[in-house]
């Protein structure tokens, strides 16, 4: 199943929402299961984002003739 990328901000906000909803006693079990699955996915995504280790540094260059932009790695 493909997941569309979400921002960390969205993930964290949604997780807060999910926890609040799960704390509601009137929740239907079926919805709880769905929320549980979604929560696990978002926690994984947030964790993955935190574990990203590589900072990418690119230089943006403008072609003098065409005006087009291209990027290339910048040597630190």
């Amino acid at each position: 199943m493909t997941e569309k990328p979400t921002s960390l901000d969205q993930d964290l906000r949604r997780l807060e929402e999910i926890v609040r909803t799960l704390e509601d006693d009137e929740l239907v079990l079926e919805s709880a299961l769905q929320l549980f699955e979604e929560g696990v996915g978002r926690l994984k995504a947030a964790q993955k984002r935190l574990e990203e280790a590589e900072t990418r540094v690119m230089q943006v260059l403008k072609d003098a003739e065409t005006g087009g932009l291209r990027t290339e790695p910048l040597d630190g």
């Binding site: 964290l12 926890v19 929560g39 926690l43 280790a53 900072t55 260059l61 910048l74």
Partner: protein
């Protein structure tokens, strides 16, 4: 007052005067007119500073004189930075100059900056209300600065420490000199064309005051205001605030500080995620155990009710047998046999009914157990759902060829009914 027997030597007097003047004398800027400039072959420079009321002799040692940007011109107004010193040999006071700036030029520059500021103010570009807030979790940051400067390295260092995984896009531009304003504007135009940029940092490493001119340039300020994403200025000067700082959404004193403003600290976020994870797990467990308790209670009540009915039936059966036996004994020739027959028929019938009740009870209990979410989550049951998320419970929902998703413990697969 001391007597003549305690008379000071001249040298002591000179030394005392020197100490009194020089000790703790702060470095000060003095404004005055340059007079009597003499440059000696040694490289030292002598001149006077005067205004309408006073005159002070000044010296400028070779190393300081060598750094003068322009030669001292007789009769010009200047600012001179220096400290008071006493030339011991003659007990003569000299102002020891270390730096000289043309007063007229500085005044004109300040005036020009003020005029630009007024125009920016008039156009509302300095309104506090138009300051944009920085996004909490940026993923792409544009940096407008000189790739040869220290600013880029400082920002990379801080970014790598705080928020690795960030993408930094550097747009090279001169940050001082005549070409700087035009290049900064062009670089900001490139930033506006880039996609998915969250924040822009424009800046340079530290430097002398004169080098800040590009960041007081009107076109640069307007380009900053026109940038579609929040801009952090990092001109690298703690004291002087440039117009670029005033137009930018956030002012950082240094490029390192700009990176700190732009990026969250992964340790803070990791702590927040940990709190959320704990809340999530405990909320889920609470929810499941509440449901479990409810199911258990229901099951127990149903079980008790069924048992009651079974006991009632058993009692009725026994009573019936107790009443049947004497009646049969009275009316039938072979009562024992008839009763025996009846009992033989009744027993399996009753047994059969009891078995059915028991099976029903078991089945209900099993269903309740199967519904328990702990099992669903933990023991490999699968949930079949239609594409709209509806749970499929009946064979009727699963016609041949129906596509549905099957959720198992570690994920979801798409499935199709082969035989309906």
């Amino acid at each position: 007052m001391s007597g003549t027997e305690e008379a000071w030597t001249v040298a002591r007097l000179a030394r005392t005067i020197k100490h009194r003047v020089e000790d703790d004398f702060p470095a000060v800027w003095v404004r005055g007119e340059v007079v009597g400039v003499k440059r000696y072959p040694s490289g030292h420079l002598y001149f006077g500073l005067r205004d309408a009321e006073a005159k002070v002799d000044c010296t400028m040692w070779k190393f300081a004189a060598a750094r003068l940007r322009e030669p001292l011109v007789e009769g010009t107004e200047v600012f001179v930075l220096g400290t008071a010193s006493v030339w011991e040999e003659r007990t003569a006071l000299r102002f020891n100059a270390t730096q000289v700036l043309p007063a007229i030029g500085v005044g004109a520059q300040a005036q020009a900056i003020e005029q630009v500021k007024q125009r920016l103010l008039a156009d509302g570009l300095l309104d506090p209300g138009r300051k944009r807030t920085l996004p909490p979790y940026p993923s792409r940051i544009a940096i407008v600065t000189s790739v040869a400067g220290a600013a880029v390295r400082d920002i990379i260092t801080v970014a790598t420490r705080r928020w690795p995984g960030i993408e930094l896009l550097v747009i090279n531009s001169a940050v001082q000199g005549d070409a700087a304003p035009g290049e900064l504007v062009a670089a900001l135009e490139i930033v506006a064309r880039l996609e998915r940029i969250d924040v822009c940092i424009i800046g340079r490493g530290g430097g002398a005051k004169e080098d800040l001119a590009a960041f007081n340039n009107e076109a640069v300020c307007r380009a900053i205001a026109a940038t579609p994403v929040p801009v952090i200025s990092a001109v690298g000067h703690e004291v002087d605030v440039t117009l670029a700082d005033l137009v930018a959404d956030v002012r950082a004193a240094t490029p390192s500080q700009a990176a700190e403003f732009a990026l969250p600290d992964r340790r803070d976020i990791a702590a927040r995620v940990a709190v959320l994870r704990a809340g999530f797990v405990s909320a889920t467990l609470d929810l499941l155990s509440t449901r479990q308790q409810r199911l258990t209670r229901t099951r127990d009540r149903m079980g008790a009710a069924l048992l009651d009915r079974l006991r009632g039936a058993e009692r009725r059966l026994l009573t019936a047998r107790g009443r049947l036996a004497p009646a049969l004994a009275r009316h039938v020739k072979r009562p024992a046999t008839r009763l025996g027959h009846l009992e033989t028929r009744l027993r399996p019938a009753m047994r059969h009914r009891l078995d059915r009740w028991e099976a029903a009870l078991r089945q209900h209990a099993a269903q309740l157990h199967a519904l328990s979410p702990l099992n669903v989550l933990g023991r490999g049951y699968a949930v079949a759902r239609a594409r709209d998320g509806r749970v499929l419970r009946h064979v009727a929902d699963l016609g041949e060829g129906t596509q549905f998703t099957l959720s198992v413990a570690d994920g979801t697969v798409v499935a199709r009914v082969e035989e309906g």
